[in-house]
Symmetry: C2
Subunit: 325 residues, 2 copies
């Protein structure tokens, strides 16, 4: 685990007007880290500009300060520096990527293992459970204030990127940071309620249909579920409503590999893969289909190929993968 | 939040042969607390006897040391003292209750709000998220060793009684204890995997059927699900497999009260009720049907009355409850 680099602390302490960005389609860690760092920098008297390509979706609009996000980018020359948080690849900065990177110096704070370096100063620590954990340490190194709102955003970042402290990335440090944030007034049940009790009746109906599609192969070691366009139409849902559905087949004790095939708009088929333990590397399988990811969580997208053909090819590959373990 | 009472620490330090018990049908907090305290006392040179009426079920048989639990009780006079952990009511000590309480002195350590006092020395702290959190403090007060196995049991206790740090009972102290336990070698993902990734394919099929039963009332504020005997038979499952199913209707944003009606063996109908927030008190409704519980989580059982009749009466009561809020 690394500490905030001294030069990043120095640049930020010397800055006057700071732009903060994160990746497109931001999740709880991305937004929580961005908003918290903004608040900490403001406590140090900096002027902060929070950039986001898209408005915050309904999943995260409870985050304090998210109304301050702006989707137009002023003259890059007007900033003392920029910081992107939780963004593993500059392509994920979105359509204003080039103008964002024109802000000098450009600082990058991220915890992803498959990070592609960009910008002028980098702090990448894959040993961290969330970028929020890094922003917490950065706030302390800057001597900024972590008030209730900043603590709330950071707690949301930790909880959303660790599945409420369940994932392998959770360390003693993660829990110690969480403890400190709660001592600043954050109510764990409130954040969890916002993040996890966000089902709609339509989403429950969709879950039922998706569970109906369950296929079991290789003596219960491979499980496959489906979401077709017809299911989305019938239940009034969209592909984003399937978040975490892959965890249902994954959570069966005998399952070593779970796959979720989704039919999105425009004939795009997206496939999520999950495996358990060190032996089964689903990133390798995703790679063969032009996708990528981590050993235990990967995926790919294909266009113009029939769902049934993908399913058949995928099953052959997954069964071969298990035999080779 | 209270500290371990000095007299309890004194009795335990002076004891030679200690009996440890917990409530019948023990959960993760009960077993984790019992096993951890046993290990801590052993590190202090005490002889420990771990009593349990029933063998440990498959949900918790991963706990280190659970093979040391014994279901026959030796002569009560042979012990220096007894400790019951996580047991709110002496009736829940099980069929050996009287012989257990004959052990003198009898110490009781528990975190339940609705605690009925028993025994000679009591430490009850409803401000604690889990009895495991209290056993951790007791271990430190005793100067005992919290080794990896004890830490693993205590971490399991915390995670299972807080739904992985999601419930309102989670405090900064809970998370700080968890951080310390992880620094002693516990892997959060391993414990979570054991506790939460324990679905069977049959249980997934049952979930699908139960979701099919979803009824929505009072403009989406009341949701009701069912599990009939026919569903259990069809999927090869038992009522215990429905654990946490009530959380599906509860997790819908608009829902204020969720009810789950289960048809068990012998024409017993058991009903679980959940509500959100301070306004809606489901314990009051459960009380009207002869049951009980907490404001946000309660239930009741009835025998010899038709399912449809219970459903109709319950809906009338729940709709009236919401109107009165």
């Amino acid at each position: 685990m690394s500490n905030p680099p001294a030069e990043i602390v120095e640049v930020l302490l010397g800055a006057d007007r700071v732009l903060l960005a994160t990746h497109t389609y931001p999740d709880g860690d991305a937004l929580g880290s961005q908003l918290a760092l903004g608040r900490v920098l403001e406590s140090l008297g900096k002027r902060v500009f929070l950039y986001s390509e898209e408005p915050v979706g309904h999943l995260y609009d409870f985050l304090p300060g998210c109304d301050k996000l702006v989707n137009t980018l002023p003259d890059p020359g007007s900033f003392s520096c920029a910081v992107s948080v939780d963004c593993a690849d500059s392509l994920r900065l979105g359509r204003e990527r080039d103008r964002l990177l024109a802000i000098k110096p450009f600082i990058m704070v991220d915890h992803h293992a498959g990070h592609c370096p960009f910008g002028d100063f980098q702090w990448v620590d894959p040993g961290r459970s969330a970028t929020g954990e890094m922003v917490y340490d950065l706030a302390l190194a800057l001597g900024g204030e972590i008030d209730y709102e900043a603590a709330y955003c950071l707690y949301t970042a930790l909880v959303s990127d660790t599945g409420s402290f369940k994932y392998a990335s959770t360390t003693a440090k993660t829990l110690a940071v969480a403890a400190d944030l709660v001592s600043r007034g954050v109510k764990p049940a409130e954040v969890s309620g916002r993040l996890f009790d966000n089902f709609s009746f339509n989403r429950l109906h969709l879950l039922r249909l998706v569970l109906e599609s369950l296929e079991i192969h290789s003596d219960g070691r491979v499980a496959l579920i489906w979401a077709t366009r017809e299911m989305f139409t019938r239940t009034g849902t969209v592909p984003a409503d399937t978040e975490n559905f892959i965890n249902y087949p994954r959570s069966v004790a005998s399952v070593q590999v779970a796959a979720f095939i989704k039919e999105s708009r425009d004939n795009v088929i997206s496939v999520s893969l999950r495996s358990k333990g060190r032996e089964v590397d689903v990133a390798a399988v995703a790679g063969e289909f032009g996708g990528g990811g981590h050993r235990n969580a990967a995926g790919f997208k294909l266009k113009g190929i029939g769902v049934e053909k993908i399913r058949a090819e995928l099953l052959v590959r997954l069964e071969a993968l298990l035999e080779s373990c």
